[in-house]
């Protein structure tokens, strides 16, 4: 049931997917891995859309160099934990949802427990090793994994449905080297909103998901395109089946 305030808040989108769709958003729990460049637009748009429970995880402190893109955090937050900053902003954005902000580094020992019974994982990480861990959890739990990555004016996104689509490791078997990557905030905004859009469609059963396709954004040309992606029968993580393999099995 919705309060009068909620009905008013969501009126312009229940015109699209009805109160049933809004109810599905309210009952959902989405896990957002990262409160940085991608995590900012993702969490803001999922919060204002009314996703009922949002867990957002980050281990970092807000730094001046974050502020060109990490729109959850303000000048006054420099030196503060990103999770505290995120929780405060998201609660103000929407007081009718639950925000769990967890200040921890996602690693092999805690990834599964952190995700818990979430209905989906949004990849807002800045490195592939942690993405692979979350990909493993998504496969084990058979929940969707909404991938996004950015660099400079370029970005990519895809929606992974274990058992149906290629997993992250089918698409990107090897991690690129870590770097201090150049980026403009708008790239995070574009890819983060594509990811949020996917989550909202998935939860409300609207439209067609970005499955079996890699969305590629070229901000220098203002050109978006997609390429088809396929399962890899010899994938280390899912063996091309979307289910856990022994090699990819977690402890």
């Amino acid at each position: 049931m919705f309060s009068e305030r909620e009905l008013e808040r969501y009126r312009r989108q229940t015109m699209l997917f009805g109160e049933d769709g809004q109810e599905r958003l309210k009952k959902a729990h989405i896990f957002i891995a990262g409160a940085g460049g991608l995590g900012s637009p993702v969490s803001i748009y999922l919060a204002v859309a009314g996703v009922g429970t949002i867990t957002i995880v980050d281990m970092d402190v807000v730094d001046q160099t974050n502020l060109n893109r990490q729109i959850l955090h303000y000048e006054r937050d420099i030196g503060r934990k990103k999770t505290a900053s995120a929780e405060e902003k998201l609660r103000e954005q929407n007081p009718d949802i639950i925000i769990n902000a967890v200040d921890v580094k996602i690693d092999e020992s805690n990834a599964k427990n952190l995700v818990g019974k979430a209905d989906g994982i949004v990849d807002a990480m800045d490195n592939f090793p942690t993405r692979y861990l979350l990909n493993d959890v998504a496969i084990a739990q058979q929940i969707p994994f909404f991938h996004g990555g950015i660099r400079g004016f370029y970005g990519q996104a895809t929606t992974i449905i274990p058992g149906t689509t290629p997993c992250l490791k089918c698409i990107f078997p090897k991690a690129p080297p870590r770097e201090e990557f150049p980026v403009v905030g708008v790239t995070a905004g574009i890819i983060g909103t594509v990811q949020s859009n996917e989550v909202i469609k998935y939860l409300t059963g609207s439209g067609d998901l970005l499955t079996n396709r890699l969305f590629i954004w070229d901000g220098m040309q203002s050109h978006a395109e997609e390429i088809c992606v396929e399962r890899n029968p010899s994938c280390e993580a899912c063996g091309g089946t979307g289910k856990k393999t022994k090699a990819g099995k977690k402890k």
Partner: protein, 106 residues
């Protein structure tokens, strides 16, 4: 079909293929490169010859031994080519080749 087989003056068959680079590779090497290649050209040698036009572009894709970096994604006509197979994958007339790096930032 927009492409066609043709013969050069020596009578050897030539083919036209399209190479698409993405993200950083695109900044360094351009994209939608149409090029004529001789029959029997392998995937790796084609990309090597194109990438060598910009040393920085070459260095972004190939290691110092001239092998593809393991994270580079290679595709031909929408199908993945394993790096291990690229040396022995023959380019065919009309192929559309895509070469791109995963972007890792968030």
């Amino acid at each position: 079909m927009w492409w066609h087989r043709k013969e050069d003056k020596s009578g050897e068959e030539e083919m036209t293929v399209k190479i698409r680079f993405f993200a950083r590779f695109r900044e360094l090497l351009g994209t939608d490169i149409m090029t004529d290649v001789a029959a029997g050209t392998m995937f790796t040698s084609l990309i090597t010859s194109i990438a060598k036009k910009n040393p920085e572009g070459y260095a972004a894709i190939f290691d110092k031994n001239g092998a593809f970096y393991e994270f580079v994604i290679l595709m031909r006509n929408g199908k993945r080519i394993d790096i291990a197979d690229a040396d022995r994958t023959v380019i065919v007339d009309g192929d559309e080749i895509a070469v791109f790096p995963p972007v890792a930032g968030g």
